[in-house]
């Protein structure tokens, strides 16, 4: 095992810690839905990383692959993005999109767990959707990822711009910028990986989890306060 093989385990731990932080805040702060969905999204992020690590450590396993593809490749971006939709959009629209996402996710579960797999089609040491030989499965990822990218990254950039325009809550501006950067990191890492840059995906996933976590802590902590101290109740 090389150092690169350990990276997914590290990003998995960071993701689960981030999820625990967000879900604790969900419980402590009036159970606002965007926190619940971000927490669920980061659990998916962690599952994806864990499956990558298990593949690197122990080799091919069909269940590991399916869980990686379902949570890491399809669902994570969309569920994180849905959290941002609940934060920024009208509640009725958010509910409607949540129903669509829920139905789409169930469909994805059915398609991924029913797909036929051929691990010999994967090149390199990283997991890849090329192992899926059934039609109509890999085409799901662009829809979920496009929705998630626009909602999560677009929403964070929009929030940062709004706070900057009003010159208020600098910590929220900075936090949203970091969240947007962190959310884009694994997407670009995946693109570089497809072009043969080995290890780019795992490095970018770890960076993404760390930067998003820092961004979240920054966004809930006013300037001048410690991000590691228990945060005071805030509007979020």
């Amino acid at each position: 095992m090389t150092f690169i093989t350990y990276l997914p385990f590290i990003s998995s731990v960071v993701s689960f810690a981030f999820a625990a932080t967000v879900l604790k805040r969900y419980i402590d702060h009036h159970r606002r839905p965007h926190l619940l969905l971000w927490g669920i999204g980061m659990i998916f992020y962690g599952i994806g990383g864990l499956m990558e690590g298990l593949h690197g450590a122990f080799g091919w396993n069909a269940l590991v692959f399916r869980l990686w593809y379902l949570f890491g490749a399809i669902l994570v971006a969309a569920w994180l993005g849905q959290g941002t939709v609940y934060l920024l959009a009208k509640r009725r629209l958010a509910h409607a999109l949540m129903i669509l996402l829920g139905l789409g996710s169930l469909f994805a579960v059915w398609r991924v767990f029913g797909a036929t797999l051929d691990p010999t089609l994967m090149t390199g040491g990283e997991l890849s959707g090329h192992a899926i030989t059934s039609g109509g499965v890999r085409i799901l990822t662009p829809f979920f990822n496009l929705y998630g990218t626009i909602a999560l990254v677009g929403g964070a950039i929009w929030s940062a711009w709004l706070f900057w325009r009003k010159r208020v809550l600098l910590h929220r501006t900075i936090g949203n910028i970091l969240i947007a950067i962190g959310a884009m990191s694994p997407a670009f890492g995946g693109a570089f990986s497809r072009f043969g840059l080995g290890g780019a995906l795992y490095i970018s996933e770890l960076l993404g989890a760390v930067i998003m976590f820092i961004g979240f802590l920054r966004a809930i902590t006013p300037m001048g306060e410690s991000m590691t101290a228990p945060a005071a109740a805030s509007a979020e």
Binding site: G129, R138, V153, I157, W164, T173, M184, S193
Partner: protein, 49 residues
């Protein structure tokens, strides 16, 4: 007439005032590139994942 605090123009510290617009602009560009990549993969323009 004395200006009330709410009518004073707010600003961030100077470094943030200069950097943030550029950072947001670069990120908007990055999102556009990302969307193009995501849409182009199933069309075969880029290797798929």
């Amino acid at each position: 007439m004395k200006k009330s605090p709410s009518s004073k123009k707010r600003s961030y510290p100077a470094a943030y005032e200069r950097a943030i617009p550029w950072i947001i602009g670069i990120m908007v560009l990055a999102v556009i590139i990302l969307v193009i990549i995501i849409v182009s993969v199933p069309l075969g323009f880029f290797p798929g994942g």
